[in-house]
Amino acid sequence: MLSSYPILSTLIWLPIIGGLLVLFAGRNNASAAKWLSLGTAMLTFVLSLPLWFGFDTTTASMQFVEKVSWIPSFNIYYHLGVDGLSMPLVLLTTFTQVLVIASAWDVIKERVEQYMGAFLIMGGMMTGVFVALDSILFYVFWEALLIPMFIVIGKWGGPRRVYATLKFFLYTFFGSVFMLVSFLYMYYQSGSFSILDMHTMHLGMTAQTLIFLAFLIAFAVKIPMFPVHTWLPDAHVEAPTAGSVVLAAIMLKMGGYGFVRFSLPITPDASMQLDWLVIALSLIAIVYIGVIALVQSDMKKLVAYSSISHMGFVTLGMFVLYDILQNTGTLQGAQLGMEGAMVQMVSHGFISGAMFLAIGVLYDRMHTREISAYSGVVNKMPWFVMFAVLFAMANVGLPGTSGFVGEFMVILSSFKANLWYGAIAALTLIIGAAYTLWMVKRVFFGPITNENVENLKDLNKREFAIMATLAVAVVVLGVYPGPLMEVMHTSVENLLIQATTSKL
């Protein structure tokens, strides 16, 4: 029964159609818009659960496949499917979607139906990015996604929203067009736009290098990596809370997903040759961006920089595999790094989403994100601080939280690759703890110095429910990551074989 209906198409089109309905039905009726959106998001999440329960962990091939011809003259298919790499990200998307809608409940006053509609449409497209198996279909979702996000940041954002949203749009657009040219080149070579065909096609070294660089630009901008990360702090700071959550929890993951779905399997030889570049940029991100986070006075900016730093772990974990293979001769250590990177992506989805939501809770009450405006929040909002400190600890990577699992695996495997990689990466345990805990100390603890803090009210039921859900997710994933890794295991093994098989 589970696979008798096109589950992936449902997950893409249900929120998009729901979003369009909200746009039209919700005009002049804010509460209808809200309930319709929440209903759609929850239904989508429930419908996405069969992916987890019906998933076959013993195979690396695509599951829940749908394939229909779309543009026959160019061999373009409406081809969907998930494997262990994409399935968790789809669930992360549908899960975050519900929280995002709930988080905006009382906060957005102006044109609620457009806000909710934009997020629902975005949700469907993000699922589309993770499940598309045709490169043109993938590109369509990847790019179309920019439109609702552009509107969300530009319309409901902070004072410099127009600058931030234009920068966001143009950066990502610029990054992705080279990827498009690469797709077209590969189509010209192989006659197919299918991503799976691209995995097996032969490519010369020059072509591989150029395609690798084109992909690197696209995904590095999205994830983002140093030095093309500068759009992210701007976009995060100006975006409304829900926008930041979606950006951090899901959109950044698209970059990471791109590396494992495109760069490594399609251009393995170029990846091997240029892995030093990605590793160097990752290490710079981990340390340098971490230090930058330390000096931020705006909470959202601090978390934004911390996201970039954490994404450095993802790319590091993905690209240490060639050094490990060279040192140890086996792929076992590499498996650890790659799985660590994937776990880190999912876990960061929860943690960063939670951090931005927590900041949103404070911002809704105080209308400022300046760290210096706060002090002693714990006295007035004990429940809130309990959750916030838990998320902060997870951000630091405390054992028992999800943040620990991914980081630990990546650090372990990078020690296998090179002592220095491991040593530099491990610095984050200090830097991350420094910027996070310092912020916690300044904002939540200490005496109350601002009279506005005196009047703060603790979480309401809605906020409590959101925070509690995320807290459960963070702790469960931290204590018992086994099932998630089991889901990924076979696909990661397959990916490592692809990434180490020469295509020359």
Binding site: P72, Q114, V140, A144, K155, F169, V177, F178, L180, L184
Partner: protein, 481 residues
């Protein structure tokens, strides 16, 4: 010499248009006083009748008549059908606009109909004379249409500019024709192709001829560096005329480009390919940068049009049937998008307010969220962002360029696409992000306009989700696959 009566049947659509246009021209003077819209309806009906004749006798094979001067093939028929489709839209919007701006007159429609006749002749041209004839019928109608508003200084200036430069371009084109004729001794396109291939013609004269022809065409299409007239003319002309200028003639322009270069001079590809590359790359780059600083939407769309011509030429420079088909697809998409863009300006304009400045669009989302959303679709489609049809138009021409081995041109094209995204985003920014004092609802003066502009815009989305039939139509009519 025996006089043989040529086969008239293939030219029935043209004859219908000619007869109707001549009839309406006379009848308009009689009925315009009593029935204001008679001319308008007669014009639309003429187009439908011509379309009906094309549909019922759709050409599956090539038919050549009038002593080799006229050709009817599926390429011509499909382009003519799209010219009709686009013109129906143009006249619908124009009627409302002319009424609103209080210079409604039958002449607009008569001239417009003659222009469509000219485009038909261009599309079916099979020798230099027919091609020239069609081009001039179309151009002369357009000169007069721009000057229709006699009391507007800008319009008269635009008409004058267009007339002088257009005449110059025609002169250059004719000069090129005469050289090719001098070298080959023929004016019929396939014969010229044959003689060039046989190697008997003087290559120096041929090269000169090609250069002049390409320059003449570049003038007409508005490719950089022969684009100077476009912004002024688009800006100065009444919006209804700009709508006309900026859409249907581009389809016809592509047709003569195809007829001349691909059918007439395939043997000289090494000569004209370089020229087209230069024109294409320059057009894309110049338009991307200059459009950014425009404050007037019509002017901005003129520069954006120059960029679109650059993209269209990408398909032509590939110099193979696939490439021409992609350019054909691009020209059709471009014309439809143009109708939506200028149609939106018309739909929002009021007596005394042309609504053609980007600043006019500020806060449109608060004043009319539906049309704001439609304009968003139009802008993103022009920018080439999926899932709108403009994306596929760009992807396909770029794909053909990559196939032809010009990856560097593809890279330039995508970079200019990113830069030009900025000026389309500026319009979206004005609509959605800018706040205005005056938030009074703004609806088109007639529900007809509202429907028409929504229909065209939604078509951009629907075609973007299901582009395959339109793509296949283009590829089949050029004779590939």
């Amino acid at each position: 010499m025996n006089f043989v009566i040529p086969a008239f049947a293939p030219a029935i659509p043209e004859m219908v248009l000619l007869a109707m246009a001549s009839f309406i021209l006379v009848a308009d003077t009689i009925w315009s006083k009593r029935y204001q819209f008679a001319t308008y309806y007669a014009t639309q009906i003429s187009l439908l009748v011509a379309g009906y004749f094309i549909m019922t006798s759709f050409a599956t094979t090539q038919v050549i008549t009038f002593d080799g001067s006229f050709v009817r093939d599926s390429f011509a028929d499909i382009l003519k059908l799209f010219i009709i489709l686009v013109s129906l839209g143009i006249f619908l919007f124009s009627k409302e606009y002319l009424l609103q701006q209080k210079f409604f007159s039958g002449e607009y429609f008569v001239l417009g109909l003659f222009g469509v006749l000219g485009m038909f002749v261009m599309v079916s041209a099979h020798n230099f004379i027919t091609l020239y004839l069609g081009l001039e019928i179309m151009s002369l109608s357009m000169y007069a249409m721009i000057a229709l508003r006699r009391d507007s200084g800008a319009a008269v200036e635009a008409a004058m500019k267009y007339f002088v430069l257009g005449a110059l371009a025609t002169g250059i084109l004719l000069y090129g024709f005469s050289m090719i004729y001098g070298a080959t001794g023929s004016i019929t396109l396939p014969e010229i192709a044959k003689i060039i291939d046989s190697g008997k013609a003087d290559t120096v004269v041929l090269s000169f001829g090609v250069v002049f022809i390409v320059i003449g065409l570049a003038f007409k299409l508005g490719a950089v560096p022969f684009h100077m007239w476009m912004p002024d003319v688009y800006h100065g002309a009444p919006t209804a005329v700009t709508l006309y200028l900026g859409t249907a003639p581009k389809i016809a322009g592509f047709a003569i480009l195809y007829r001349l270069l691909a059918e007439g001079m395939p043997g000289l590809v090494s000569d004209w390919q370089t020229l087209i590359i230069i024109l294409s790359v320059l057009s894309m780059i110049v338009s991307a940068f200059v459009a950014i600083v425009q404050e007037n939407l019509k002017r901005m769309l003129a520069y954006s049009g120059i960029g679109h011509v650059g993209f269209l030429l990408l398909g032509v420079l590939a110099a193979n049937p696939d490439g021409y088909a992609s350019a054909m697809f691009y020209s059709i998409v471009y014309a439809i998008t143009g109708v939506a863009g200028f149609g939106m300006i018309i739909a929002l304009s009021r007596t005394g307010n042309e609504f053609d400045k980007i600043a006019d669009f500020k806060g449109l989302n608060a004043r009319n969220p539906w049309l704001a959303f439609m304009m968003l679709i139009v802008m993103f489609s022009m920018a080439g962002i999926p899932p709108f049809i403009g994306f596929f138009a760009k992807v396909i021409v770029i794909e053909e360029v990559v196939k032809a081995g010009f990856i560097w041109i593809a890279v330039i094209a995508v970079i200019t696409a990113v830069i030009s995204a900025f000026y389309y985003l500026r319009v979206v920014k004005a609509i959605y992000f800018d706040k205005v004092e005056d938030e009074t609802p703004l609806t088109p003066v007639s529900s007809e306009l509202n429907w028409a502009v929504s229909l065209v815009s939604i078509a951009l989305l629907v075609l973007g989700l299901m582009p395959s039939s339109l793509i296949e139509l283009s590829y089949q009519s050029i004779g590939v696959q």
